[in-house]
């Protein structure tokens, strides 16, 4: 019964979302308050029924109901309970259900927390989200129901989840990422509502901004977690592979970053309005494109756990409708949107525009590189590959240029700054960064290295310009504490996020230039020296896990003869699929990781062992966390909370 309840709840949710997609928006265009006021209860109902459906699937997983096809394919009775539950989104159908759950969750949240929003605006926003939900829930029901059954004969046990996914990473990474992807649907809905109503003022930007920042922060967190997961789980020690699926998440993040900045300018100064709308449309469209790329299988990728052309076609249609519809609307309405103010050639507005160009070109570059092989193939010109060497060659220079502009932008004021004032603020951090960049490779490495110089200088430039600006705020302050309190939280958010960019850049620079890696054949008692650490192999023994058997090696790491840690990497064989998995072991610390992965046993009883020394690799993710934190701090700013004091607008 349980799966049928889940399926039925989903059908009810579909009906509710269809009504939500039609009635409130029609009410808004005819000024019918009663119809507009349907939006909130519909949003709540839609969320409730998708939630019931989700719980039903969770129940099927936790109770090993292998009559459900999806459960039988993605679970197994031996799996630990946390992986049974996260297996809900371990495949295509369940991922989509999670998508729908988060989408209706965001819709519900908007209906609850937008008390200051005028009723017609709220009705339009929720209706647009209802349209998106209609598309996705019908996608679920038509092509990918997670509740299909094997009846009457169903398997005794499940086929097990891909061992790669039986990991903590699966529990946290997809929900975070989807929160971001789907969160951009809120920004999208606000943009469409603005175009429909013609209302595109500072108040609009103030409503849309917190939602956008939250979505952006989640997406950033999701990408960071994904990178960290790939690093420790795949056993290659890499943290970014320029894989199509990673690119699919990077593109909306880049456009989202541009959007977050453009929205700030729209709110503060009433400029770049039509550009902000366009970015909101594209951020969400790229999220859809990402889903399409992952789910359709048009791009081969290490992540392609479930893919199917028919489903791809459905998402492509959704994407075409979303983009076609919204861009048509944009083309019709955007010319009416006028900027409210002008600015001098040296102003924060200008720097934000330049930053937007860089971010957009970076997103376009990723898109170009990801789709180019498809394009060439479609034109019948053979098969080519576009991989990390291309992206590194093209992406990194733009990233450097943008970071330099970033440092300048914090020192420039809205409307106008004099070149002298900007120079006065910036010469100290500039000199400091260049000197440190010159010295760093000489002290830390074995002599001057141009790439390290560039990377460190730019990272320090990004951080020190922000810090200098921050210190400058106290020059005329009577008391430091009162000034600290005076600065708005959104300012702190900006600071933290920008420092995060610098921290990540330090990580990228150092881990790319000073990593050491050795693949060695090792017998019990052998010692290898890597970057002043001695790795001693002390043999392997068999370990039994919940649903796997493993050879576990013992590797003692010493520094200057003194033992610092014992690492136990494993080579696992999962019982059900008979799949081999490398489980690396890592000694992590702020300034370096020691990373050991076990390869194959060799003929003479020795093992192939891979050892990495990864300096500053943690900074990559630490920076990602700081960026997300910055985005959230901005949302906590009190100017977004003031309105909660007022009563509900809906009492028609």
């Amino acid at each position: 019964m349980n799966p049928e309840i889940g399926g039925f709840a989903l059908i009810i949710a579909l009906f509710l979302s269809v009504v939500l997609a039609l009635i409130p928006i029609y009410g808004a265009s005819t000024a019918n308050e009663m119809w507009m006021s349907y939006a909130k209860p519909l949003a709540a109902g839609q969320f409730l029924f998708v939630f019931i459906s989700f719980i039903c699937l969770g129940y099927a997983f936790s109770h090993d109901d292998f009559s459900v096809v999806y459960v039988a394919q993605h679970s197994n009775s031996q799996m630990p309970i946390q992986f049974k539950l996260s297996a809900i989104w371990g495949g295509h159908e369940g991922s989509l259900l999670l998508w729908a759950l988060i989408l209706t969750g965001w819709t519900f949240a908007v209906s609850r927390f937008s008390k200051a929003l005028p009723l017609d605006m709220l009705a339009r926003v929720l209706s647009v989200m209802g349209i998106v939900a209609t598309g996705f829930i019908s996608f679920l029901l038509i092509t990918s129901s997670p509740f299909a059954r094997y009846l009457p004969r169903y398997p005794v046990d499940g086929a097990d989840l891909n061992p790669l996914l039986q990991d903590f990473g699966l529990i946290v990474h997809p929900p975070m990422l989807y929160m971001g992807y789907v969160g951009f649907s809120v920004a999208f809905a606000f943009a469409i509502a603005a175009l429909l109503s013609g209302r595109m003022d500072a108040a609009w930007a103030r409503w849309a901004r917190p939602w956008t920042n939250i979505a952006w922060a989640f997406l950033g967190m999701g990408i960071t977690l994904g990178s960290w997961w790939a690093y420790y789980e795949l056993g290659w020690g890499g943290w970014w592979f320029w894989d199509p699926v990673e690119n699919a998440s990077l593109m909306p993040w880049l456009v989202g970053t541009a959007l977050v900045h453009s929205l700030a300018a729209t709110e503060k100064r009433g400029v770049f309005k039509s550009w902000t709308l366009l970015l909101a449309i594209f951020a969400f469209s790229l999220s859809l494109l990402g889903t399409f790329l992952v789910r359709s299988g048009v791009l081969t990728s290490v992540h392609a756990f479930a893919s199917d052309p028919e489903r791809g076609f459905f998402i492509l249609m959704l994407l075409a409708l979303t983009m076609g519809g919204s861009l048509t609307l944009y083309a019709l309405k955007a010319p009416n949107v006028k900027s409210e103010s002008s600015f001098s050639w040296l102003s924060r507005e200008v720097l934000l525009l330049i930053n937007n160009v860089f971010l957009t070109v970076m997103a376009v570059t990723v898109l170009l590189g990801t789709l180019y092989p498809l394009l060439i193939d479609a034109l019948g010109q053979g098969k080519i590959s576009v991989g990390p060497p291309y992206f590194n060659a093209v992406f990194v220079p733009i990233m450097c240029a943008m970071s330099i502009a970033m440092g300048v932008s914090v020192a420039v004021r809205w409307r106008e700054s004099t070149p002298k004032a900007v120079l006065d603020k910036l010469w100290k951090p500039a000199v400091f960064s260049i000197i440190c960049g010159l010295l760093f490779p000489m002290i830390y490495g074995n002599g001057f290295e141009a790439r390290v110089f560039l990377g460190i200088s730019i990272s320090l430039w990004v951080m020190s310009s922000v810090v200098t600006e921050f210190i400058g705020k106290f020059r005329n302050a009577q008391s430091i504490t009162s000034r600290l309190k005076q600065l708005p939280l959104s300012y702190y958010g900006m600071m933290v996020a920008h420092i995060g960019v610098g921290v990540t850049a330090v990580g990228i620079t150092l881990v790319s230039n000073y990593s050491e890696e050795r693949d060695m054949r090792m017998q019990t008692g052998d010692t290898v020296e890597i970057a002043d650490y001695q790795f001693t192999f002390q043999g392997t023994h068999v370990v039994k896990g919940a649903n796997y058997m493993a050879d576990q090696a013992t590797i003692v790491v010493a520094e200057d003869g003194e033992t610092i840690v014992t690492l136990r990497p494993e080579k696992r064989r999962y019982n059900v699929k008979n799949a081999m998995m490398t489980e690396a072991d890592i000694d992590a610390s702020l300034f370096r990781d020691l990373y050991v992965a076990l390869g194959e046993p060799l003929e003479d009883g020795s093992w192939a062992v891979r050892m990495h020394y990864k300096p500053y690799v943690r900074w990559l993710w630490l920076g990602g966390i700081l960026m997300a934190l910055g985005g959230l701090l901005t949302v906590a700013d009190k100017r977004y909370r003031q309105r909660s004091a007022r009563q509900e607008p809906t009492n028609a």
Binding site: A116, P118, P163, S301, E349, V364, S385, R415, D519, A597
Partner: protein, 163 residues
């Protein structure tokens, strides 16, 4: 539907053999060669895998290609000769860094072109806004305190109407 599931299952089974990192051991007489080995293995794509370079892949063919690179390096071949050898056998598909030719001009020069175009547009916008600014046509400056208050007031009023 069932057929698709079976295929998906088979694919999963196949791919499951690639889950472990490829680790094997070559002895190099010259650290320079070792560096080139890693660089080449990083830039060449495993012809039969989903999306992996031959350094990371554990597929048999990747293993063979690694050995081949190792042998060619030891035979004193330079990087170009090794890459040409691979392209001759497996096509441009094995190159993660596509060659610059008319087919890939857009790929290689596109980003620079977009950047120039974007900055050009921005320059035009800045020029017109700067002119407005210098002429003092700045109708509505940034939210001054009073305006911010007015805005808050607007947000607080129960308005379903357009402002």
């Amino acid at each position: 539907m069932l057929k698709i599931n079976i295929i998906a299952g088979l694919l999963m089974l196949l791919s499951s053999f690639m889950l472990s990192a490829a680790i094997d051991v070559y002895k190099f007489d010259d650290p320079e060669k070792e560096k080139r080995f890693h660089q080449l293995a990083f830039e060449l794509r495993c012809p039969k895998c989903q999306n992996q370079n031959i350094a990371d892949s554990n597929a048999e063919i990747a293993q063979d290609l690694r050995t081949k690179i190792f042998q060619m390096l030891n035979a004193g071949k330079n990087d170009n000769e090794i890459v040409d050898y691979m392209v001759e056998r497996y096509g441009d598909f094995v190159l993660y860094e596509p060659r610059v030719n008319p087919q890939t001009y857009l790929l290689w020069y596109g980003p620079a072109l977009f950047l120039v175009l974007g900055l050009g547009v921005v320059a035009l916008i800045i020029r017109s806004r700067n002119k407005q600014y210098q002429q003092g046509n700045d109708h509505q400056p940034s939210l001054s305190n009073s305006e911010a208050k007015a805005l808050d007031g607007l947000l607080k009023t129960k308005s379903g109407k357009k402002q």
